[in-house]
Amino acid sequence: MLGYIVRRVLATIPVMAIVALFVFSLLYIAPGDPAVVIAGDQASLEDIERIRQGLGLDRPFVVRFAEWSLQVARGDLGKSMFTGLPVTELIAQRLEPTLSLMVVTLLLAIVVAVPIGVVAAWRAGGWLDRGFMAFAVAGFSVPVFVVGYLLAYVFALELDWLPVQGYTPISRGLWPWLENLILPAIALGFVYIALIARITRATMLEVLSQDYIRTARAKGLGENAILFLHALKNAAVPIVTVIGIGVALLIGGAVVTESVFAIPGLGRLTIDAIVRRDYPVIQGIVLMFSFIYVLVNLVVDLIYTVLDPRIRY
């Protein structure tokens, strides 16, 4: 197992290299010029050129890519063209809010969606099943920002239960931290809950029709034990797979959610960097998200071995 983990971690290196080359090339051919944005409206073409030189943007693609790759290999993601701050510092500033949002959303989604899916499968075709699945369809259909605005209007503005916006670090206490995350996590988790609930229901339906479930019922085992101990455990592999894949969904959704709730996370940093063509920041964030995604997939693969002893690497 340890050998497998080491091999998988080492395999991330070529993946990251390909991602790096792809992102760098994409930004190189994309229109827009950070020097123009920095120089402002009053600048002459000569001013813009001097700023471009100062940023090193006048050099050939290969030189720039080689230099950046060497920097990355040393663990240095470079400096933001606009703030002058190291990209690692900018990412570090924003990592906690985004990770907090993703973790709370993930937990919320699993806690809500899995029971919904199990109960819907258990009562397949009944009103409870139809009600849950109608909720799932709504979850897929309503955009994150609409849910976000509605939640903020009702629970923050009208009821005054929770804050409209912002983020409080967990170092300032659990409740202040959680208070700012409840509404964004519900907004972001809506589609995720729908996804997991539907896949749980579908998988559970298949498992509940298996012979060993009938046997369990025949020997008088209680319904809860059948559903949550026998059926759910056997249905868990596809559910875990979807949860893993859904992390990409969360990353994309976090961009919108962070804007709606003014959470100073990586999503907003990404948008700001793209709008300004802040290449080092964009490259750094994409690399980091790629790394996280690869790691999540590794964790999912390892969880398979826990859920299904037949799986061995």
Binding site: P31, G32, D33, V36, V37, I38, A39, G40, D41, Q42, A43, S44, L45, D47, I48, R50, I51, Q53, G54, S80, F82, T83, G84, L85, L90, Q93, R94, Y149, A152, Y153, A156, L157, L159, D160, W161, L162, P163, V164, Q165, G166, T168, S171, R172, G173, L174, W175, P176, L178, E179, S259, V260, F261, A262, P264, R268, L269, I271, D272, V275, R276
Partner: protein, 533 residues
Amino acid sequence: MDRRTVIKGIGAAGALAATGRLSAPAIAQGAKVLKFVPQANLANFDPVWGTQYVVRNASQLVWETLYGLNNKLEPQRQMAAGEEVSSDGLTWTFKLRDGLKFHDGEPVRANDVVASIGRWSNRDAMGLMLKAIQKELVAVDDKTFKWVLAKPYPKMLYALGKVGTPCCFIMPERIAKTDPFKQIEEYIGSGPMKFARADWKPGALAAFEKSNDYVPRSEPANWWSGGRVVNFDRIEWVIMPDPATASAALQSGEIDWWETPLTDLVPVLKRNRNIKVEIADPLGNIGSFRLNHLHPPFNNVKVRRAVQMALSQEDYMRAVVGSDTALWSTLGSVFTPGTATFSDAGGEVLTGPRSVDGAKKLLAEAGYSGQPVTCLVAQDQAPLKAMGEVTADLLKKIGMTVDFVATDWGTVGQRRASKNPPGQGGWGMFHTWHAGADAANPAGHIACRAGGEKGPAWFGWPDDPNVEKGVAEWFDAKSPEEEKAAMTAVNKASMESVTWLPTGFYKSFQAWRSNLQGISDGPLPWFWGPKKV
């Protein structure tokens, strides 16, 4: 006790159980804090290297200028205690006022000023003019510096005190020696607030803390002049890119002041008795339809006049600002209305009756044969998107072929610098807007220049010697009457040769909690005066 307090109480108990301690306050208990939502993110903090308005607005808290404009756009002494100019107008001698101290404890010396002027004059249009005629700029002693010129420059004090970017902020000599095309890395000023570098999270938060060493001038504050008395221990700039979030945060009391509320959200804010909404800047903005004079079809003045003849500023303003006519007006001038030297001479070609048929006839006379007009329209800037759609409709109405390039502002910013033909990466027209404070006169209004390809001229590169002659007369003018005469000449010539097309004059709102008093209007938010009651 409301429900939120109850929830907080329950949550606090949970927090104690979980973390074993109470939450740490971000700032000292009882500190007076102002939470302000600025127009944009403070992405960099060098007012010479980065010329965005938001950088200037933040910089005014940390750095000072030698002079500052009042609400009549007259330069008043700020860091300067006095100035003397020789009878031939060639030698200026400036004295610094007492009590000026940088945030690192060092006094402000004439050497700091000389270095700061040197850096600024490499990037600013007026600075470059001064540099071109400069014979000597030296510190005479710690509090005195002398500027010797090869020819008189009557707009000296205006140049040193203008609000148009980049402003001549004074920094310590070691920082001011930084290459003007590279960003500074230390943020030490002599203004009323210190920059809290450790708290700066670009895109999220910028914070400023009161400088106890700051000695304000004794005169009452008047825009960028007078005593800068800040009534807060800390000012936090909370960056909120989403207007709906900012609106909700203002309504719930999570922020105190919002610089640029979206016009669509203003009715909601006005209905809230805890919020005040007023015009932010009497100098407003001028919408701009920028034409490329280098290539067909707009290299032909008859084609430009055809568009001018049919262009309805009312259509543009309704699309950009809405139906509230208190917020906008038509404008037959390239300059900001309402100032002492304003002129709209010749502007009836824009504000008089509109004629689509006349435009079609003129296009036919010009020999226009359907060449596409490449319209660069930034979709990520609401006013520009709105103007672009009106323009596409206008050009089609008068029989022109439109190549509508829907893109983002970053791409427009890059492509508008291209002098290539439209089909080879160039362009035919784009929209932007000019801040009224910049467009009040030719000083910082590069868009009004018409020096052609070799300059000075802005994107589109109009070439009209009459415009340039008027601008030169304005710079040489010694009285408001002479300035007005020069601006009249500039405007007449601009309208005649259609250097560019103003699409109207419009203002915007600012909003704040009603417990915040003392907020005044102006081209930028003034933090001296407001206090919480």
